[in-house]
């Protein structure tokens, strides 16, 4: 029998594939950028990528946890946009204090998650359909919220307070505070998934829901938690984006509709549930955002960016499909 080398295992792991992918992307964009007489490989680029990550990272964390349990949420980005609009409208139209507006925005997001959870768990409707429908409902509500007293739909609502401006500008050296919050969130959720009873239960539910229920893991409670968590984190994304841009818009996060899900899958969290982790999700996100930034710096056409993003998504899903199949095959199941 062949002895398994630990290195071989590491080389085959998803994280390693992603690191390779990342190196290739960086090299590729460095060359492309120099052809265009710009530079990719600079500190500014990387700090830029890091701060670009903050917003979608909360999407990826929420989506990742939910997918591990064998569920999915497609309404996350719409919820985020709603949260951003609530923050802006709250401050500039309703005149509530900035912290009150933030709390309201996150609470409304969590309520959307609760709605998803109720429909999925109590009515037994597939999460895919449920969250797609709720996404549409949320978009409608966001438009309603963006309509001013004169019945005019305002596409972007600006706001400014000393406190929110300070939060948006906070940084440690060159590294924005939101990036640090993001890293902390990845660590906390990563530990939760890998080391706690809740995390273990999420994996087991993702693998076999019936067995998990019969073992008393409280699969329903956990499902509620994960849906609410996913939407609330969607809200956090929206709020951060809003704080940074000093405005709320119903169009926010449009291009990030599937970023959370894609990052999670790319990072090895399988659609079929029960595998992957936060480290992978982070790497997945890093790959996506490096790609986007690179495309921007290499000054390619927007349409190409869209086409290639699609290709990246397909590549991620293929990797998921192939690796699940390979494992199944190896295990003889």
């Amino acid at each position: 029998m062949k002895k398994k080398l630990p290195l071989a295992g590491a080389l085959r792991s998803k994280a390693f594939t992603l690191v390779v992918l990342l190196v290739i992307l960086v090299a590729l964009f460095t060359v492309l950028a120099s052809v265009n007489n710009t530079r990719f490989f600079t500190a500014r680029t990387f700090i830029g990528i890091l701060s670009d990550l903050a917003v979608p990272s909360f999407l990826a964390i929420g989506a990742g946890c939910l997918i591990v349990s064998g569920n999915i949420d497609l309404s996350q980005a719409s919820v985020g946009a709603m949260a951003g609009v609530i923050l802006a409208v709250g401050i500039s139209w309703w005149q509530i204090p900035w912290w009150g507006a933030i709390v309201l925005a996150i609470a409304a997001s969590a309520a959307a998650g609760l709605l998803n959870a109720v429909i999925v768990n109590e009515l037994g409707i597939a999460p895919f359909v449920t969250t797609l429908a709720i996404s549409s409902v949320i978009k409608g509500i966001t438009m309603l919220l963006s309509t001013d007293p004169g019945n005019i739909l305002v596409s972007s609502i600006a706001f400014t307070t000393p406190a929110t401006d300070a939060i948006a500008a906070a940084s440690f050296g060159d590294i924005p505070a939101t990036a640090i919050v993001m890293v902390a969130a990845f660590i906390v959720y990563g530990l939760m998934l890998a080391k706690t009873k809740l995390g273990k239960s999420i994996y087991l539910i993702g693998c076999n829901r019936v067995a998990a229920r019969l073992s008393g893991l409280g699969e329903k409670k956990i499902s509620y938690f994960l849906f609410i968590n996913c939407s609330a984190l969607g809200g956090v994304s929206g709020v951060i984006l809003s704080l940074r841009s000093k405005q709320g818009t119903m169009l926010a996060l449009q291009s990030d509709q599937f970023t959370g899900v894609t990052a999670a899958i790319l990072g090895g969290i399988s659609f079929s549930g029960g595998s992957g982790g936060m480290g992978g999700a982070f790497m997945g996100l890093l790959v996506i955002k490096t790609f986007n930034k690179g495309m921007m710096i290499a000054d390619s056409n927007t349409y190409l960016t869209f086409v290639l993003s699609g290709v990246l998504l397909i590549a991620a899903l293929t990797m998921d499909y192939v690796s699940v199949r390979r494992q199944r095959k190896r295990a003889g199941a």
Binding site: M1, L191, L204, A212, R213, L214, G216, L217, G274, G332
Partner: protein
């Protein structure tokens, strides 16, 4: 004459040698039994036969021609059909679609559902079973699902048919039906391989016996010329004596721990019984008698329509299994693949599942405590595995069953009532004896045990009292001293 020959077949998995130079021959018109302890390599041999996995060494020869297939579909076309230990049905599809899967009758480019129905009905009638061809497989009791699996293989009319523990989920009625079918196949000159842990069946239906131990062929015997003792010692390597007589039982049951009063659910009607602490109550009955459903209702897994359940005197009605577990009730489920195992998770995760909340250090899970609990179960049941981290799906069927037992019989879970639903399904005889003793040990510790089993000999010898069910009702109760198979059967058949 047609024959099937295994020549020097070997196969290794990471950390285990599953088969090591196995050679033997099966002839047309004969039933060859493949016997051996859990993890001996029986299923692996059959999977090699059906081209589900590839052998590392050796070959399989059918009537002088070496077999080499790249897929199971090819093997089936070449006349080789293996009925796996784990059912391979599509639960949400109808019985008829499952029976004719891969070869649905077609008319004008569309599936001909009329013919499909009639052809399936013909097979079902031949078996003499009350199954509706249009029912979905998942709506059937496990035993009938197994019969559907057998019909699927029967329908293909293959030259070689291998059965991997076909009777594990069946009761005597279906076993009789199955044996009649096997006898017909034998007369038709088929080559039949039969795997089972039930010695009695080996003597009923087989002509020759090949005994595997740790992946090696240790003995081939002719059935009429051997006896139970010789078989067991070839298989286990020692004499296990009279299992039942040597059990160390609990003499005096204590006070009533569980009382069920007029319980009604979708599947059972007015079921009432009591269970004392330290008592083992057996549940016997035919398929669909409602034994599993009574257990699930008590455990909070199924909805209760009416009736009362009292635990230690206080009225309870658990909404979820979680509440039942908290109250000290454990239910080891009958269907290990769907309801028991988390196939993709490790042995350790599978065993620790219901007690994770007790294995914490501050907020994090305590790895060492999980290891200890798992190690204890692995030793108690002699689970054959190179590590605690192995995924459940890499274990042999019997070892998977042991994992489920290990999960539900740790001291932390079953503190008041232990419900075992077909606990010895797929377990070899050596370990069976240990499991019976373990059940008695629970009783001695004052736990009330409900022991559901379709193996009559087993229920009437292990339980202190046997409750017999038929069609959702309790039809009678027999004490162990008075229990005979005839008595229990007559209660199970008519009402």
């Amino acid at each position: 004459m047609e024959y099937l020959e295994f020549r020097n077949v070997g196969k290794a998995f990471p950390g285990v040698v599953a088969l090591d130079g196995v050679s033997f021959t099966a002839r047309a018109g004969k039933v060859v039994a493949l016997l051996g302890e859990n993890g001996a390599g029986k299923s692996t041999l059959l999977k090699i036969l059906s081209a589900d996995i590839k052998a590392d060494t050796g070959k399989v020869v059918l009537s002088g021609k070496e077999l080499s297939f790249s897929s199971t579909a090819q093997a089936i076309n070449a006349g080789i059909s293996v009925i796996y230990q784990e059912r391979q049905l599509i639960p949400a599809m109808s019985v008829m679609e499952n029976v004719f899967i891969g070869e649905l009758p077609v008319k004008n480019g569309l599936v001909d559902f009329n013919r499909l129905f009639l052809d399936t009905k013909a097979i079902i009638d031949k078996f003499g079973l009350p199954i509706d061809p249009e029912a979905t497989v998942m709506s059937l009791p496990v035993a009938y699902q197994q019969m559907v699996e057998i019909m699927k293989a029967y329908r293909r009319d293959c030259l070689v048919i291998a059965f991997d523990e076909p009777t594990a989920p069946l009761t005597d009625t279906e076993i009789d039906i199955l044996f009649n079918i096997i006898r017909q196949l034998k007369e038709a000159g088929k080559i039949i391989i039969y795997v089972s842990h039930r010695i009695r069946e080996i003597f009923q239906i087989t002509d020759e016996i090949a005994v595997l131990k740790d992946g090696r062929l240790v003995k081939t015997l002719t059935t009429p010329e051997t006896d139970q003792q010789e078989l067991i010692s070839a298989m286990v390597g020692r004499d296990i004596g009279d299992t039942y007589a040597s059990l160390d039982r609990n003499g005096e049951p204590g006070s009533v721990v569980l009382e069920v009063d007029n319980l009604c659910t979708d599947a059972v009607d007015n079921v009432s019984f009591t269970l004392r602490a330290g008592e083992i109550v057996g549940f016997a009955g035919l398929v669909g008698a409602g034994r599993t459903e009574v257990a699930r209702a008590i455990f909070g897994a199924d909805r209760i329509l009416s009736g009362e359940i009292r635990l230690g005197g206080g009225s309870v009605r658990f909404k979820t299994p979680r509440d039942a577990i908290k109250a000290g009730i454990a239910l080891c489920p009958e269907d290990r693949k769907e309801q028991g195992l988390v196939l993709w998770a490790s042995i350790r995760d599978n065993i620790c599942m219901p007690v994770l909340h007790k294995l914490k250090k501050l907020i994090f899970l305590d790895g060492a405590a999980q290891d200890r609990l798992t190690q204890a179960a692995v030793e108690k049941y002699s689970i054959r595995t190179p590590s605690l981290w192995k995924r459940a799906l890499e274990l042999s069927g019997g070892n998977q069953q042991k994992v489920i037992l290990g999960r539900w019989t740790s001291d932390e879970v079953a503190t008041r009532v232990l419900i075992l639903d077909e606990p010895t399904k797929g377990i070899d005889i050596g370990t069976k004896a240990e499991i019976y003793q373990l059940v008695c040990d629970f009783a001695k510790r004052g736990v009330g045990v409900i022991f559901i089993s379709s193996e009559l000999t087993e229920v009437i010898n292990v339980a202190d009292r046997i409750i017999v069910m038929h069609n959702g009702h309790i039809t009678g109760e027999v004490a162990r001293q008075d229990a005979t198979e005839e008595k229990v059967l007559s209660l199970a058949m008519l009402s």
